[in-house]
Symmetry: none
Subunit: 254 residues, 2 copies
C-alpha cells in the first residue's frame, strides 16, 4: 500500500467516524503504529487533522460561515412561502425577489421541480441550489448590504433580458390608496422593472405590511395580479384590499 493511499484512507476514516485510533488502524492496515503515527503527524502538519494522544480528530470546525445572518423567519412568512411556491408550474420562468419572505418561497419549492428561477438575491440563489432539477439565474449588479439584493443601473439593464411568466415580489407597504411601496428607491426601481416584464405579478404580503406606506412606490394595484397572504390574515386582507381588482391567495393554513 502506498503511503499516499494510506493517508487518504486515514482522512476517510476521520470523516466517517470522527476520530482515529492509531493502534486500531495500524492493525487493520497491517503496518506498524509508528508508520501511522508518522502519517498522522504529517497530515497534522498540513492541517488536515488534529493530532491527539492515541490518534487524531478532525480539525476544529471553527469556520462555519454559512447562516452567518440567521434570518429571522416567522411561521407566517413560511406559510406565505409555501403558498407562493405551490403556484410555480413546471417549465415556467419565475422571478423571485430578495428578503426573508422570498427566501421562504425558495425553501418551499418542491424538489424535482423543473423550472427556471431568476433572482437578484445571492442568498435566495444559494438556497435554490438545493433543488437539483431547477435552473437558477442570478441578476447581477451592485449588492446592497442590508437587503442582500443587487440594484442599480446595471441590474435594471440586465433585467431587460428577462420576461418571466410570474414574479414574486416583497414589499414593506400595502395601502388601498397608496399602492405597493418599499423603503429604498433603488430596490423599488428593480421591483418596478420586474413587474413590468412579468406575465403576472404576485406580492408576498405578510400581515404587518397591511395599511402601511413606505417612501417609494413599486406599483399601483392595477399592475399587481395577486397578493399572497397567510390564512389568518385572509379576512383582514379582504376587508382592506378586497375591493381592488387583485386576487387574494391565502394559504390553507399550516
Amino acid at each position: 500500500m502506498l503511503s499516499h493511499e494510506r493517508k487518504r484512507h486515514l482522512l476517510s476514516i476521520l470523516s466517517k467516524t470522527g476520530s482515529i485510533i492509531a493502534k486500531d488502524v495500524s492493525g487493520d492496515l497491517g503496518v506498524s503504529e509508528d508508520t501511522i503515527r508518522r502519517d498522522l503527524r504529517e497530515l497534522a502538519r498540513g492541517g488536515r487533522l488534529k493530532r491527539v494522544h492515541g490518534g487524531a480528530v478532525p480539525v476544529a470546525t471553527a469556520n462555519a460561515p454559512f447562516e452567518r445572518r440567521t434570518v429571522l423567519s416567522t411561521p407566517e412568512k413560511a406559510e406565505i412561502g409555501k403558498r407562493a411556491a405551490s403556484m410555480i408550474e413546471p417549465g415556467q420562468v419565475v422571478f423571485l425577489d430578495g428578503g426573508t419572505t422570498a427566501l421562504e418561497v425558495a425553501r418551499n419549492i418542491p424538489s424535482q421541480m423543473r423550472s427556471t428561477v431568476v433572482t437578484h438575491s445571492p442568498n435566495v440563489a444559494m438556497e435554490l441550489l438545493r433543488l437539483e432539477t431547477l435552473t437558477v439565474e442570478i441578476v447581477g449588479g451592485r449588492l446592497m448590504r442590508h437587503s442582500i439584493v443587487t440594484t442599480g443601473a446595471a441590474t435594471l439593464a440586465w433585467l431587460d433580458r428577462y420576461r418571466p411568466d410570474m414574479c414574486f415580489i416583497g414589499a414593506t407597504g400595502l395601502h388601498p390608496e397608496q399602492g405597493v411601496t418599499t423603503g429604498d428607491s433603488e430596490e423599488a426601481e428593480v421591483k418596478r422593472a420586474v413587474i413590468a416584464r412579468s406575465g403576472s405579478a404576485m406580492i408576498l404580503a405578510s400581515s404587518e405590511k397591511f395599511g402601511a406606506v413606505s417612501s417609494f412606490e413599486i406599483a399601483s394595484w392595477a399592475e399587481v395580479d395577486g397578493l399572497i397572504v397567510s390564512k389568518a390574515a385572509e379576512n383582514t386582507a379582504t376587508g382592506l384590499l378586497g375591493h381592488l381588482n387583485c386576487g387574494i391567495y391565502a394559504s390553507s393554513g399550516r
Copy 2:
C-alpha cells in the same frame, strides 16, 4: 508491448483502482520496474497522474467524491487567502473568482477596506457583505450548481463592462508546459475573459494543483502575472514553475 499501449494500460489501472504500484504492474506486464517507472515519470510530466513513492495516484482534482464536502477549507487555503487579500489596495477594483480558496480571500480582506470587489459567486458575495466599507458587485448569469458561480453567454457579455485592476482566479491544474487549467469549459471561459480584462492576473495556487492538468485551458503562463502560494509550498512552486515569467508570492506563514 508498445510503450504507448503500456501507458494506456497504466492510466486504465489508475482510473479503475485509484492507484498504481510500480512493482505489481511490472510483474503483470512482464517488464522491469525501471520501464514502468519511466512511463510513470513521463505520464506525470504530462500531468496525467501524480507520481508518488512506490507508484502513482490520480492527479488531485474532480474525482475525489468524499473530499469535496469535508475539505471545505484547509489551513493552506486560508494562508493563500490571507496573502491574496493583503495585495488589495484601497480604491482598487478587484475581481474575485468562486471556489473555496477565493472564499478564503474574501474572509481575509481587512475590515474598513475601501475598494470594489466584483465576483460571480453568490457565496463569495455573501461573505464580502461582512465588510461595511466595501462595494460588492455580482456578475449575473446562470448559476452552476456544483461550483456556485455564474457562467454562460450572459456572464461573458456582462464581464465586458469591467476592467478590474487585479483579479484572483482559482484553477485545478498548474502545469509548467500545459499552463493553467480547470475542469469545466464554461468556467474556463469566464476565467479567461476575466484575465483578459484585468490589469494583473493572480492565480490562487494550493499545492495539490501543482503539476496537474485539467481538461480546459484558462491561460498560458505568459498571461498570468502572479501565483499565490503558501509558505510551505514556495519551494515546490519555484522548482516547478520558477523558470516561467511569473511572480511567485508566498505567504509569510501562519
